[in-house]
Symmetry: C2
Subunit: 204 residues, 2 copies
DNA sequence: GACGACATACCATCTGGTCGGTACGTTTGG
DNA sequence: CCAAACGTACCGACCAGATGGTATGTCGTC
């Protein structure tokens, strides 16, 4: 017998993959079971409902991507603005392969569920805004250093970066590739550089 | 008997409303029929399938929003940069009410369908990139005027504006309101102003 | 032997889609 | 001028398959 946690995580990973590719509603419980090589009995042993699965998947997404970003090298520079720019570079570097491999589970799921499944929407909101919060400190520090009197808040700029990234994902799906999304991140990087008076061209 | 075009458009408008609120997959044919006060027989008289409906709805969305933007006052300024900034202001002014009332049908639908329904994805892509094309000329003119040597293309900036707008919609849905989205459009406006050397504060 | 971790079989409901039929307008032929 | 023939718009009952969820049983481990 396998470890129950492993089975549960296999189901969650299968769900994350399926929802990223087909969306929440088009993903069936049988899809998830098949992808996880488990049966429906196992599924409903670990999750009370499909909605419960989605919420747990959102939480797992938050945990795994949180670990990915925390371990990423963009935290290394001493200058907070350098860290912020490195974050954008890091996000750009992640744009590899097909859209279902680099786009965000939470961003797509919240679009489907924001009205009809408030619990799922809340889970997505928590994940998205939690990631925003990890950026806000660096942005606030950079602002204090380079643009103390600016008439925008650190949080609003952090949210803006997420808007660009999420919007770039939509364009990537419409265009079926990461090219346009990468261009958008270039514009985001240029904006940040302009905003803080760091004129250096787009790529360091 | 009503005019057949009126019935068809009623079905399309009902579909647009339902898909914007619940997404493509969660929207049932019966939902659409009920909202249009017609029966399933009428539905399948006008559309071959649910997918056909979605494609036609995307086309109608393109036509109606195209007319809305073409008639909008942001085309009035003589300076192309002023037109571009007025476009952003116009988009910000549209952020009223609940997310399902101001967000984009195509942006949300393409997220669900980009892999499993290529025909719908193509219809969304046509609509989105068609709107981008209406911006590109003004941006190109503004670039020729104010930033002729810049290392970005007019089209990439037009695409970036759409990324910000679409991403702002996602955040609006996650937050259940337009506040964050409006802040994102402020950042977009600030970026454009910085990019073209028009430093005037955010709001004119 | 009790309990957690599954599997299997099954069910009620929903969903997209079909189909025969009806009401009504239009065309055609005499 | 009229009526048969035909086409369009629409209705509503029906269907096959899919879907979320349940009930029950089995197997291995503590």
């Amino acid at each position: 017998m396998r470890s129950p946690l492993e089975s549960r995580n296999r189901l969650l990973d299968a769900a994350i993959g399926a929802i990223r590719a087909k969306g929440y509603d088009a993903t069936t419980v049988d899809d998830v079971c098949a992808a996880a090589a488990l049966t429906k009995g196992a599924f409903f042993h670990h999750f009370r409902s499909k909605e419960d699965l989605a919420i747990s998947a959102a939480e797992r997404w938050g945990v795994t991507t949180g670990a990915l970003f925390q371990a990423a090298p963009y935290h290394l520079p001493e200058d907070p603005l350098d860290r912020l720019l490195a974050y954008v570079d890091f996000r750009k570097a992640l744009l590899q392969g097909a859209p279902q491999d680099f786009t965000c589970l939470l961003g797509s799921m919240v679009q489907e569920t924001y009205l009809s499944r408030p619990a799922i929407r809340d889970a997505c909101r928590t994940g998205i805004f939690g990631h925003v919060a990890t950026l806000t400190d660096d942005i606030a520090a950079a602002k204090a250093l380079y643009a103390p009197g600016a008439d925008w808040t650190a949080e609003s700029l952090a949210l803006h970066t997420q808007a660009v990234i999420q919007g770039a994902f939509i364009l990537a799906k419409a265009d079926d590739g990461p090219r346009i999304a990468a261009d958008c991140l270039d514009h985001l990087r240029r904006y940040i550089a302009l905003l803080f008076g760091r004129e250096e061209g787009v790529k360091p």
